[in-house]
Symmetry: C2
Subunit: 188 residues, 2 copies
DNA sequence: ACACTACTATAACACTTGTTATTTTACTTG
DNA sequence: CAAGTAAAATAACAAGTGTTATAGTAGTGT
């Protein structure tokens, strides 16, 4: 009945998301996406009502991307919240622009930091329960402290003020947990 | 010999800085500064070679502003780094846009976080020495941990994920210091 | 008082943005 | 194959950006 569609909504979104990863969402403009996707700006406004709508779609894709990233991250830490922290800090290092979009750019925050972190699987709840099972008297309070710490390290990677290796980071996170949990450490 | 200048460099810079405080540096455009200062864009380009130069001047003024803010902040904390943390977190809360410019926007970072924090008076060095005098075995390491923690809390205020009161924050910082310093706390 | 000149305002240039009107293209259907 | 139609390309609009050319203005020195 008519011409066949050649530029799909996936083409547009994938292109915009890839651009966000490499150059940040602020560089995702109609003409630049079109150029990258090898078409004019018209197909964009056929599948999305406005650029705002595309940016929202990119944000939601970034949310899923982070969930997958966290799910697939290896769990080498023993103390609660250490794996959460390792994945989060690695994500900030490896995906600076996505991290910024999800956890730093506060203006049009669609989801709270806790929602993003907890995810659909209840990541945070799982860790908190684990801490409780290990005998932690105030696991919620401990999560808050650990989370502030983890978020601080992650944000510092953006500005180049944090450059510890993964091994060092894991060590740091586990010792911090112990410190917050109130265990006394021998000064070996 | 000629006409008298009516728009001074202070007028321009003060206007641009005030705008940065209230709406962020990204809204400091030539025309908007001119409108706010009650003149055309021409005086701006007489005293500054380009907008880039004005933005740099705003950044440097923000550096001084933070130094003054820190100097004038009341010192109610007893443990090392607690006053540093209180001032820093309060600054993030009260001056979101300046905090973002100085400590979050990493791209064109002129000064490192440590430089900004230590200042001309050696704020950090002072606190580290204090920790050492109090018998802390690794004051540098402790500073790093405390700083990650403090920075995390400050960054969370930007996204609305941290909303503890000053009293609660002071308590949090002092307990964190004790935890990192290795003191065992009784579970009263 | 007049001429000179530095400062300011107006207007324009070149560019980028989101968005939309118009035209061309290519496929499906009768 | 011809007609119709939806998709894509081209081009334009209106607004905003930094920056600069031009014109006007107000004060100073002779």
């Amino acid at each position: 009945m008519a011409r066949k569609e050649v530029i799909t909504i996936e083409n547009i979104l994938d292109t915009a998301f890839a651009m966000t990863r490499t150059e940040g969402v602020s560089n995702v403009t109609a003409r630049r996406v079109a150029a990258k996707a090898g078409c004019s700006t018209q197909p964009i406004f056929r599948v999305y009502r406005s650029m705002e709508e595309l940016w929202t779609a990119v944000y939601l894709k970034a949310v899923d991307f982070f969930q997958d990233y966290y799910s697939l991250y290896p769990r080498t830490g023993k103390t609660p919240f250490s794996n959460l922290g390792m994945a989060y800090i690695a994500f900030a290092r490896e995906e600076k622009h996505l991290f910024e979009l999800l956890f730093v750019t506060g203006v049009e925050q669609k989801k709270s930091m806790y929602e993003l972190l907890n995810g659909e699987k209840g990541n945070v709840v799982y860790e908190v329960n684990r801490a409780a099972a290990m005998g932690c008297p105030a696991p919620g309070d401990l999560f808050m402290k650990m989370w502030i710490f983890i978020h601080g390290a992650a944000c510092m990677t953006l500005t180049g003020d944090y450059d510890l290796s993964d091994v060092e980071t894991l060590e740091l996170l586990e010792r911090s947990y112990e410190a917050f949990a109130g265990e006394k450490r021998s000064e070996e």
